[in-house]
């Protein structure tokens, strides 16, 4: 057996060398069953008991407060008289009189069918997704009124999610777990599982498997066109960008009509366990960025990065290339504020590239998240969740893989087994990784609205951002919290 393994390893090495490490054949996984398996929805999977969801009435009140002080038009009421079956009347009343009180009094009259104040109405694109009330992050940036202006973009806009993959396809894949491993240095030793079959399904809230929702999938970790998510991070990020919305199911997304390009450029733990041929190195990231730009992406989301090592010129070159091809890029600023505040090397070039922004995270109270890395390269802020500002439910809620069934390496060794990637749940995540897709989705909305130049998108985001922290740009929030509605409205002549 040892000889056989050595032979296989030698053949694998030989093949890799002959291919120059650029296009090795994926030796440790194979498609077992390429059919549409039904996804399993396992519901909300919060570690803490869910808190009371923010009710819609409260959300509406918060959104409108400060814009129109009165919910009705003063100075008149609506009255329907019984002797006029065809129409109602608008009757003037003194401006200082309470229209609701007058209407109530009018209704007591025998000749009045009904009377009411002239309540103001607004287009309210509040999604009907049942878990939307738990998505505090969207009302926090006035998305409901932003969606009135630009309802979720269209399929003309392609957003590339360069991440750990995406639950975009229903398929069963065979992997080979050949090595025992530990997740932490002093953690338990998990055994090799040998050949395993892993079922995948398209996340129901992202779109149907093999549908036109997903375009040009590409996996630079396994070097094929199956960027399947074995981690959950990429699927969660994709959800914030483009979760199906107003479908009476689950949660909402920022730009819910765009098409998604799954591009896998980082490993999850299972990719390492299964010995993927490539790691998420700078060159892989650069290739992913160039691939997205060359295949029609208009927005690139990079909820990834690194804090160790030096600059990444290969990535900077790729970023400049993508922007030159008309791509807007959002990149996470990093999650190290509470652990040394090391900069995300991939985000640091952002100030020098017009059309790329580095994104900080705020929590539910719109204060800077405790983990959000600060620095001169931070340009904009968006909701990323902060569970120190409200507990578990103060994270960002989206559908992703059911982590209980994926992260089996978190279990005792006796319960360790292969993952399932066909079961889904709603998880609260936090991080600048979660803030970044808000900006990517926002960019997609702006592109749909007519701002097609990446540099102009960046300028618009900064110009209309709600200033936070020190006046003007600062290292915590950059130019401030994104303000999609104001940005989408742009400029009139005098206002």
């Amino acid at each position: 057996m040892k000889y056989f393994a050595a032979l296989v390893a030698a053949l694998g090495l030989s093949a890799a060398v002959s291919e120059g490490q650029l296009q090795p054949s994926p030796p440790h996984r194979a498609i077992i069953q390429d059919i549409g398996l039904p996804a399993i929805d396992r519901g909300l999977r919060a570690q803490d008991p869910p808190r009371a969801a923010r009710d819609r009435a409260e959300a509406e009140r918060v959104v409108k407060e400060g814009i129109d002080r009165l919910p009705y038009l003063p100075g008149s009421i609506i009255v329907k008289f019984k002797n006029d079956p065809d129409d109602f009347d608008v009757l003037p009343i003194p401006m200082t009189t309470d229209p609701e009180a007058v209407a109530a009094a009018m209704e007591q009259r025998p000749d009045v069918e009904y009377a009411q104040a002239r309540y103001r109405n607004y287009a309210m694109a509040q999604p009907n997704d049942p878990r939307y009330p738990s998505q505090w992050n969207f009302p926090a940036i006035d998305m409901e009124r932003a969606w009135d202006i630009q309802p979720g973009a269209t399929s003309d806009i392609i957003v590339a999610v360069l991440d750990s993959g995406m639950a975009f396809r229903s398929i069963t894949v065979g992997y080979n777990s050949r090595f025992a491993f530990r997740v932490t240095a002093n953690g338990p030793l998990y055994p090799a599982l040998g050949r395993v079959e892993v079922p995948f399904a398209a996340a129901p809230e992202l779109g149907a498997s093999q549908s036109s929702r997903f375009v040009a999938p590409r996996d630079f970790i396994w070097d094929d066109d199956l960027p399947l998510d074995l981690d959950g991070h990429g699927t969660h990020v994709a959800g914030t960008i483009g979760q199906l919305t107003n479908n009476n199911d689950g949660t909402a997304g920022m730009a819910y009509n765009v098409r998604l390009m799954p591009v896998k450029i980082i490993q999850g733990v299972w990719d390492e366990i299964f010995s993927s041929p490539f790691d998420g190195t700078d060159d892989v990231v650069a290739r992913g960025i160039r691939y997205a730009a060359d295949n029609g992406a208009k927005v690139i989301n990079l909820s990834i990065g690194r804090t160790s090592g030096g600059p990444a010129p290969v990535v900077v070159d790729a970023l400049r290339y993508a922007v030159s091809r008309g791509c807007f890029i959002a990149v996470a600023s990093g999650n190290t504020r509470d652990t040394g505040n090391q900069a995300n090397r991939l985000a640091q070039p952002a100030p020098d590239i017009a059309g790329m922004v580095a994104v900080a995270a705020v929590g539910r109270t719109l204060d800077l998240a405790y983990y959000s890395t600060t620095g001169s390269y931070v340009e904009i802020a968006a909701p990323g969740g902060d569970q120190r500002q409200g507990g578990t439910t103060a994270g960002i809620l989206q559908q992703t893989l059911d982590l209980d069934l994926v992260e089996t390496f978190e279990r005792p060794v006796s319960q360790f087994g292969p993952p399932r990637a066909d079961a889904f749940a709603y998880h609260f995540f936090q991080g600048t990784s979660m803030a970044t897709p808000h900006v990517a989705g926002f960019a997609a909305l702006l592109m749909q609205q007519g701002i097609t130049n990446p540099a102009a998108i960046e300028a618009a985001m900064k110009q209309y951002a709600t200033d936070k922290g020190a006046p003007g740009r600062d290292d915590q929030f950059g130019y401030g919290l994104i303000n999609p509605r104001a940005t989408l409205r742009g400029l009139g002549l005098a206002r």
């Binding site: 097609t452 409205r489 009139g492 002549l493 005098a494």
Partner: protein
């Protein structure tokens, strides 16, 4: 008789009268009337002993001072105006006072400006201006050309500006009046005793009415006024 006619109506004199007729009455009258008629005596010089009341309607075109702002939002820096008013000639020579109002309305869309490039956002915006002009002026009258009445005027403008756009709250729309001033001059031609036709140029300034936000801030344009040419029809004496 014929001798006297021939002596007085020399070809030169006949030519002069015909030329005058061409100038004052139009060519068709001249050539339709072979036999010269005695000229109508000119009307008396301007009377200043009573009020002269004229109502007028006008149609014209304005070129806005904030040309870039109007051009970007509405697609052109100018537009058609229409309005009307009342002019009262005072019994003090050619002095008159005038109250007039006009309206401009344009439709466009909101934009975003980046490094001189405009991105049209597809959000409809409607701009309406309704200036109210209070003027005083002097009208000149000439014995030899009594039908022609040039005038100059100037005064105060209360300039109504309204800007509404889709998806805006009341607070985000604009509906205000701003103080301004205007100067102008024109020429009226009396085609009949009670009817006049004319044209005038007016320059209006409404300083600091715009420019705090919107594209007017981007272009650093603060004046809502402009230069207008107006055709007028006047009814009255």
């Amino acid at each position: 008789m014929s001798h006297r006619f021939n002596t007085y109506w020399t070809p030169i004199r006949i030519g002069s009268v015909l030329a005058l007729c061409v100038l004052l009455s139009g060519a068709s009258d001249v050539f339709a009337q072979a036999k010269p008629r005695p000229r109508t005596p000119p009307p008396p010089p301007p009377r200043s002993r009573s009020l002269e009341v004229n109502g007028y309607a006008m149609l014209g075109r304005i070129n806005f001072t904030a040309a870039d702002s109007f051009d970007v939002i509405l697609g052109e820096p100018a537009g058609t105006i229409f309005g009307g008013g009342l002019r009262v000639g005072l019994p003090l020579g050619g002095l008159f006072v005038d109250v007039g109002a006009w309206r401009f309305r344009g439709e466009g869309e909101r934009v975003f400006i980046f490094e001189g490039e405009e991105f049209r956002l597809g959000i409809p915006v409607e701009v309406t201006t309704t200036p109210l002009e209070l003027s005083a002026g002097w009208q000149f009258r000439f014995r030899r050309m009594p039908r022609l009445r040039p005038y100059v005027a100037g005064g105060y403008t209360s300039y109504g500006y309204k800007e509404t756009s889709e998806f805006a709250t009341d607070a985000e729309n604009v509906d205000e009046r701003f103080p301004g001033y205007h100067l102008g001059g024109g020429l009226e031609y009396r085609v009949a005793r009670w009817i006049g036709l004319g044209g005038e140029f007016t320059w209006t300034t409404v300083p600091d009415a715009i420019g705090e936000s919107g594209v007017s801030a981007e272009f650093d344009e603060t004046d809502l006024g402009g230069t207008s040419f107006r055709l007028k029809i006047t009814i009255g004496r």
